[in-house]
């Protein structure tokens, strides 16, 4: 593997003067490429005829090939043809004895990147190589990103498979208890086992729905139903959803509204954001705690929604990891709490889709506040990356 900022160049020409001239010009040449701190330099290899060029191309990897079109036996065009579509093929610049339009069109059709007409000056050579270098570098970058995406996807699927397997295994285990008649005499235990199965299946269903939400947002195929929305109405609906669970644990749900709470947005998106945040605020609260939803509409262009709890809180290390996919904070305090591990990841994506973001402030055993800021007109921010 060569150094990152050195590009390997093969010069294939039957004229010794051209080969040596190009080598001399390239030896000291430094080409700046946008986005890279250091200039690029070139490591040059030479081939005196088509056969030698073919051999070297088979044995080694080059970034750029300067290829004489009119080597004996028309080998130049044949080599170009061979290289087409080959994995890791160099970017080819044709060197021609005369610049004819016909030649240029044919070479480009065969996959040449550019061409140089003899005789050429060092400046012309430098221009062409600068262009070629930029292309090679952006190509490399694109390949690296694609590889990274594949890796991220693989890891996501591995964790997902694990998260789906766990509830299946649990339910299967309970079914085996029933099958083996372990609970036959005990209706109370049977009811508790069936209840637990339903809980695990419910968790699995939530995971699948979250996953669908996430996929739709990420792929951009989610249909946004934009319209006038009063955030206060969405908040009231979400609070209502969580009231039974909160009452069971003596948790008070409070709403504080300030200023203008109207938005131009997708009510479904706001509901998903609020559902996830309020759900967390209840789940990770202490019994007899408080959940406060504050909507701050004091500014003309932005709107803030803050959801606070008085629960177990998190350490700075835990909050730092929080928005990643399948991140669930595991410690003694969170032992019995279930979740898909996707909720906050979804909240962040949706907030960004609405031209905003989400932040978190937390202290262990005191509580946590999630603050979402959104563009009041989320249609204007639709171009944003989720």
């Amino acid at each position: 593997m060569s150094e990152p900022n050195v590009l390997r160049v093969l010069v294939a020409d039957d004229e010794a003067g051209i080969r040596l001239g190009v080598r001399r010009a390239l030896d000291g040449m430094r080409v700046p490429v946008e986005g890279y701190g250091d200039d690029f330099t070139f490591a040059v290899d030479l081939a005196a005829d088509g056969e030698e060029a073919r051999r070297k191309l088979d044995e080694e990897r080059f970034d750029i090939l300067l290829l004489d079109h009119s080597m004996p036996g028309r080998l130049g065009m044949e080599i170009l043809e061979d290289l087409r579509g080959r994995e890791g093929a160099p970017l080819t610049v044709m060197i021609t004895a005369y610049a004819s339009l016909d030649m240029a069109v044919r070479a480009t059709k065969q996959g040449a990147f550019d061409f140089l007409a003899k005789p050429f000056t060092p400046d012309e050579l430098e221009d062409v190589l600068e262009k070629a270098s930029r292309h090679v570098v952006s190509d490399r970058e694109a390949r690296r990103l694609a590889k990274e995406r594949r890796q991220v996807r693989f890891e996501f699927l591995s964790v997902l498979a694990h998260e789906l397997k766990a509830p299946l295994g649990a339910v299967e285990g309970y079914l085996m208890l029933l099958e083996d008649g372990i609970l036959a005499q005990d209706p109370e235990k049977t009811a508790s086992v069936v209840g637990r199965c339903r809980e695990r299946i419910g968790g699995m269903r939530k995971l699948i729905f979250d996953l669908l939400d996430l996929t739709r947002i990420e792929s951009g195929t989610k249909q946004r139903q934009l319209g006038a929305v009063d955030v206060a109405v969405v908040v009231a609906r979400v609070i209502e959803t969580f009231t039974p669970e909160a009452e069971r644990r003596g948790i008070e749900l409070k709403t504080v509204l300030r200023g203008d709470t109207l938005m131009h947005a997708d009510a479904g998106e706001l509901e998903i954001i609020l559902n996830n945040l309020v759900s967390n605020a209840v789940k990770y609260n202490r019994d007899a705690g408080t959940v406060t939803v504050r909507v701050d509409g004091g500014e003309p262009d932005r709107l803030g929604i803050a959801v606070s709890d008085t629960g177990i809180g998190m350490s700075p290390e835990e909050t730092a990891r929080l928005f990643g996919e399948f991140v669930r904070i595991r410690n003694e305090k969170t032992g019995g709490i279930s979740g898909s591990g996707l909720g906050l990841s979804i909240v962040r994506r949706l907030a960004r889709l609405c031209g905003g973001d989400v932040t978190v402030a937390s202290a262990p055993d005191e509580g946590t506040t999630f603050t979402v800021t959104l563009d009041r007109d989320t249609a204007a921010s639709e171009g944003g990356t989720p």
Binding site: G169, G173, K189, R196, R200, G335, G336
Partner: protein, 138 residues
């Protein structure tokens, strides 16, 4: 967690796992076999249970909050009474590809357990291991 009343003469098993479902299922099966069952969801809880009562047998999950919680717990139990059989169950092979075995001579020296079973584990496998270890059945 739960400490059921002790029927006289019933053997006592300590079950330790952070997977609540696996723990409950195992508990129900051991109860059915006539055991008094003590459960713990992590190493710390297990320590508290051990301070209250020494079990006749322990089944311990290898990976809990701490990566090697099961190993240290097995070691502690053996320190309290080397005669208590300790079974380690572990999903570590499925999760990390690492393999542990009591059959490996090098590993016998440092794994302070009488058997290592890979998850998913069926109750019959545990029973078979107990028979092999000569643990008396009810």
């Amino acid at each position: 967690m739960t400490t059921p009343p002790e029927p006289k003469g019933a053997p006592c098993v300590l079950l330790v796992d952070d997977d609540r479902d696996f723990l409950d299922q195992l508990a129900l099966r051991f109860e059915r076999e006539g055991y008094t069952v003590i459960t713990a969801g992590n190493e710390k809880e297990a320590g508290e249970r051990l301070a209250e009562r020494l079990p006749d047998l322990a089944v311990v999950d290898l990976m809990m909050d701490q990566m090697d919680g099961g190993f240290t717990l097995a070691y502690r139990i053996k320190q309290l009474d080397p005669a208590i059989p300790v079974l380690l169950v572990t999903g570590v092979t499925a999760e990390t590809g690492l393999e542990f075995s009591r059959d490996d001579r090098g590993q016998q020296a440092w794994i302070k357990a009488d058997a290592v079973l890979a998850k998913p584990v069926r109750f019959e496998q545990i029973q078979r291991e107990l028979e092999r270890l000569g643990v008396r059945h009810v």
